[in-house]
Amino acid sequence: MTSKFKISSTIHCDVLIVGAGGAGLRCAAEILEKRPGTNIVAVTKVAHPQKSHTQTAQGGMAAVDPQDPVDKPIYHMFDTWKGSDCSADQNIIRKIVESGWEQTVWMENHGMHLSRDENGRVSKRTFGGHTLNFGETSAFRCVFEADRTGKGIMDNVWGEALKGGTSFINQAIATELVFKGDNCVGAIIFRQKDGEFVAVLAKATVLATGGNGQVFKVTTNCRQNTGDGLAITIQAGLPVMDPEAIQFHPTGIVGPGILASETLRSVGGILRNKDLEPFMERYAPKMKELAPRDLVARAIETEIREGRGILNPDHDIEHVWIDLRHLSDYIHDVQIPEVSSFFRRFVNLDPKKDLCPVRPSNHYQMGGIPTNEFGEVQKSNDELIHGLFAVGECAAASFHGFNRLGTNSILELITMGKVAGEKGVASLGNERPELPKNAGDMTFSLFSKFMEQKGRDNPGQIREEMRMLMTEKVGVFRTEDGIGLAIEVLEELKERAGEATLSSKSLSMNQELIQRWELHNLLSVSTFIAHGALNRRESRGGHFREDFPERKDQFNYHTLAFMTEPGQVELGQRPIDMSIYEERQEHYEKFGMIERKY
């Protein structure tokens, strides 16, 4: 396809990192520590790495302190396995859990301002789903930096990456992976500020592009989380694993969807319906408010559907209450100052005096680009794409299976960032890749279409319709008919998107053009989510089918979804790793296909 677009320059580096959030920059820091002077280029879609989604993580990071007299890694592994609804990979669980404390110490030693206990040691608190002795009682396993743990991590890894000499390309997107045979040799990058396309060629490429929360109407995710990394992977014909495994956080603040952290419940916040009944007692008599996220989310949705919700007139959305009025000023002011202030800032309520409105909000994608335990991207179950890594929320190793425990995400992203960095360094060859002839063709063809389209539709409107559709039909509750309908409507929306016109044809800082590209990605990722959800006729973790409410053994596998041709999704399987169970060591019986009850 001929077009007015061209690659304006080619940059050569050792490692290209796409996505400069917590995972991407932890990877950069590891590489620079192991091999100082490595030439790293880190690309971020946002204005600066510090503006990444990692920055918003609140609660903390799970890590078993070897000096803790009662906690043990095996308990954390069990909680993660049980929480995942028996669909995480046990080799990954073991690897990540066992390195938890080492990662905490690394972060702390490199300057993270973790909250302290009275002895001056890193402080710990409880979090939903984390227990001692296989579910007996809550574990104090979560290290934290007040209620801005993600910000602490982001400052830290950005600082380390900067110190080591990483080159950053800010406000830029990766539109296409570049391959030479089966090797990934870099990516095409579109720099938004000057509107130039550049080719970045690297000996190793790391995707760390984050999640896809903008697929849904109410989400805790940043504005930029539009599944771009998945979309370019899909475009390259590579698989996505478990796209249907989406987590809805039970307590998003009504209106903006901002996360009201689990911390609110772990410090004693109580969920109440319109009759002020503390309803969690009916759904999870033992864990109550601290039951895993998907259980709490469904409990709230059920209350709302059965008429016990409250309608917010301004946002026209139903919700339940979280009651924090009985908590001490100390808890409000010291333990949850930022989250507590969200209610004042964003809905004009005082949580010390008022009940606060919350409802389930899309939060996390457990699935993603399938990788092995080193973060190396898989082409199929036994083939890797050489030179390509994926870490963080865009990737699935899989540590979370079908439901992620709170505080496990940051642990996963920094561990896998580190592991991929280590592996990446070890595998760097000397060969300097050349720019393949066809590099950029796919991008230019797509962007030409965006620019040339002439029709009446507005990409912003189509995006809103898609988000509502996915929330209603492929959200907390799913059915065969609902998902089927969603798949049909998604195809219609794709057609309409093909006729949407851009009002400005400029390339430099054209936000409309970026949003058009994002819409393309969102529709592609939504289609994968819907197909995965349709095929999985069972309920597991965050994936809940009303027509098949039980988990079924025949679905004890990961979904692998490929796009064979435009709009066609083909499904395959990857087995769940059960190595802890199979090794038959002490407590192995806890790692079978156990029941998930709290």
């Binding site: 503006k51 920055q55 302290r116 500020k193 940043c222 504005r223 912003g460 009002s503 400029s506 409309e512």
Partner: protein, 242 residues
């Protein structure tokens, strides 16, 4: 409860292709607890898709959406319609980009340029102290952490730097010097001389005129001026000043 407001947003625009700059009026009917970022989105979806503005987290934790509203730099994501009307006693709002870096388009500025000052202040531990309990966390008592933990909450939105009367004249700026002061107060840092040299350099804290505007506008309610005052009074010169 569901009262609506009729607002006029007078937004300063800039087109980098033609180098034109102008003010464009948008009239909107909006609910009381919508935020200004919601208003920008509404403009994009309903009135003018070409208006460029920046945001990321939209809950006051990243600082991407800083703009000037009726002259005051603030985060658009946490300015509710109702509060804006009460705070500014008007329904007409002049919205401009922050003035700390070149404008890229409309309300978007080149934050990378603004961050160059933060980078100069080295927002990391330059030379780590020896950890007495190797392989473990450093021991830092809460009472010591409390002295500087507030400064670690800075999100680099550059609101302080925008209002600072000195930051346009060679001063590194309040947020950048605060990033260095944090590490001077952090017992894990040993590169004190290097940090003090920067703080007391030509670009350093003596450029500050103590207007305290930084503390006044900080969206995170950090008393930025307090930390600068500590450095000015020489608190970090002696070794045991942590």
């Amino acid at each position: 409860m569901d009262s609506n407001y009729k607002l006029t947003l007078k937004i300063k625009r800039y087109n980098p292709d033609t180098k034109e700059s102008w003010v464009q009026d948008y009239v909107l009917e909006v609910g009381r607890i919508l935020r200004f970022t919601d208003l920008f989105r509404k403009i994009n979806n309903e009135l003018d898709a070409s208006l460029a503005w920046n945001s990321s987290c939209e809950h006051a934790q990243c600082g991407t959406c800083a703009v000037k509203v009726n002259g005051k730099p603030l985060l658009a994501c946490e300015l509710l319609v109702e509060n804006a009307v009460n705070q500014f006693h008007t329904t007409i709002f002049h919205i401009e980009p922050i003035t700390i870096a070149p404008v890229v388009r409309d309300l978007i500025v080149d934050l990378e340029k603004a961050y160059e000052r933060v980078n100069e202040a080295k927002p990391y531990i330059i030379e780590p102290a020896k950890n007495p309990s190797q392989g473990n966390d450093y021991q830092i008592f809460p009472r010591n952490l409390e002295r500087y933990v507030d400064a670690t909450r800075c999100i680099n939105c550059f609101c302080c730097a925008t209002v600072c009367i000195s930051s346009h004249k060679g001063f590194l700026g309040p947020n950048a010097v605060m990033a260095s002061i944090v590490r001077l107060m952090d017992p894990r840092e040993t590169a004190r001389k290097e940090r003090l040299d920067t703080l007391y350099s030509e670009k350093g804290i003596y450029r500050c005129h103590t207007s305290k505007a930084c503390s006044f506008v900080c969206p995170k309610e950090i008393d930025v001026a307090h930390f600068i005052a500590l450095a000015k009074e020489g608190r970090f010169k002696s070794k045991d000043s942590r």
